[in-house]
């Protein structure tokens, strides 16, 4: 049994043709189910509770990254498989899971290739992709040691899935996330006088993470969660291994 949860914004006229097409495809693939169209009166928590009570095992988000995050935050650790049919923007999460369009998503939901993924817990909320900041005042505190960025550092983050696939890969099924520090780009002149040992180096730092705290040097700093929302430091982060079951496509950015 499938529950399809349509985000509020999909009620807009501009998405109606696309939704009709999606519904047609769902019927064609034989995976049509119960549709829930969110509005100010219809609470997402109630729908999830109803799904659990009715032992519904598949919940498909129809919407964008925010839609998926809202639903994922409610089903982490529960016996529910989640899928996404991307409608609207942005769709970084769907893209990371190998879903490039709504039409492709229907075929992927139908194939139901399921993976158990790690989830990051941050001050009681959850994240799927990463948390990021470019504020040099962040301090990554690992209890026994801490990491501070030097002035030559540009950005830092903790990654469950690295959507850029640059310099490092994160495996969202290994129970470990990667704390990463990325350097500023050097001018050609600075590169010329670089030490030999750094000529082949991208200068990226990588530390395995299971649990840590992000502190700040002076004032609290903003940390971007899954490139959608912002939280202020201090933030406690913990990896919850394999707590979210997702339907994924073959073209996902991780193994």
């Amino acid at each position: 049994m499938y529950y399809y949860i349509y985000d509020i914004f999909t009620a807009s006229k501009k998405y109606q043709n696309q939704l009709l097409k999606i519904e047609g495809l769902l019927t064609e693939f034989g995976i049509a189910g119960k549709n829930f169209k969110l509005n100010v009166l219809k609470n997402l928590d109630d729908i999830i509770d109803q799904a659990l009570a009715n032992e519904v095992t598949n919940i498909i988000a129809i919407g964008n990254d925010q839609t998926m995050s809202k639903i994922a935050n409610l089903i982490v650790g529960k016996n529910i498989v989640m899928g996404i049919i991307p409608v609207g923007e942005p769709n970084i999460l769907a893209s990371a899971f190998g879903i490039k369009s709504a039409e492709e998503a229907v075929a992927i939901v139908s194939a139901r290739n399921v993976l158990k993924l790690d989830v990051g817990k941050i001050n009681g909320e959850y994240f799927i992709l990463s948390i990021e900041s470019n504020d040099g005042n962040a301090v990554f505190d690992f209890k026994d040691y801490n990491i501070k960025a030097l002035p030559s550092n540009k950005a830092m983050g903790v990654y469950n899935i690295n959507i850029n696939k640059d310099e490092f890969q994160s495996d969202p099924g290994d129970g470990i996330m990667e704390a990463v520090f990325k350097p500023k780009k050097l001018s050609w002149f600075a590169r010329l006088f670089r030490k030999n040992s750094l000529k082949e180096s991208s200068g990226v730092s990588i530390f395995p993470v299971k649990k840590m705290t992000i502190q700040h040097k002076k004032k609290p700093i903003n940390i971007s969660i899954d490139r959608q929302r912002v939280l202020k430091t201090p933030l406690e982060i913990e990896v919850l291994p394999k707590k979210l079951t997702m339907i994924v496509g073959k073209r996902r950015v991780f193994k």
């Binding site: 690992f142 026994d144 040691y145 801490n146 990491i147 501070k148 960025a149 030097l150 030559s152 550092n153 540009k154 490092f168 520090f181 990325k182 350097p183 500023k184 030490k195 030999n196 040992s197 750094l198 082949e200 180096s201 991208s202 200068g203 990226v204 730092s205 990588i206 530390f207 395995p208």
Partner: protein, 148 residues
């Protein structure tokens, strides 16, 4: 190019175009890059590359590579190690220690085996396991045989 693809599996073709760094970081759990400073007791089980600053203690059961740009003010313990940067502190290396010509070490070293490149600077005591004791017993043995 088509020939290459026919001969090698796709993942290995990718390897042909990987930079030295990408090849180096495979199997590495931690990279302490040149834009960070690590302070405290860093403990790892896997392989570690240090290109930046470390202050405190650095321990791993695996391989430690401290590049030319590394600045370690810490006591280090590792399974094996290659040091090409500055180390102020003691090093306890279970198996092989490879000291490169750019290395500057101020501290005592305890290791199973050691290679020191021409130009490396070491100020401290060196202690190696086994060798000296075995040699001494051989001399005694030979002397004993002569008496007979």
């Amino acid at each position: 190019m088509a020939m290459i693809i026919n001969i090698w599996p796709l993942n290995e073709v990718g390897m042909l175009f990987k930079s030295e760094r990408q090849k180096n970081i495979e199997g590495v759990d931690t990279i302490i890059g040149p834009t960070v400073s690590v302070e405290g007791n860093f403990k790892g089980d896997g392989n570690i590359i240090v290109e930046g600053e470390v202050k405190g203690n650095l321990k791993t059961k695996g391989y430690l590579k401290a590049t030319e740009s590394s600045n370690i003010i810490a006591n280090i313990t590792a399974g094996s190690a290659e040091i090409a940067g500055q180390l102020i502190g003691n090093a306890k290396i279970k198996e092989n220690l490879d000291i490169k010509e750019s290395a500057l070490i101020q501290g005592d070293i305890e290791t199973g085996m050691i290679t020191v490149a021409y130009g490396a600077v070491i100020n401290g005591n060196l202690k190696m396991k086994g060798g000296a004791v075995e040699k001494a017993s051989e001399v005694i043995g030979e002397a004993g045989e002569e008496k007979k």
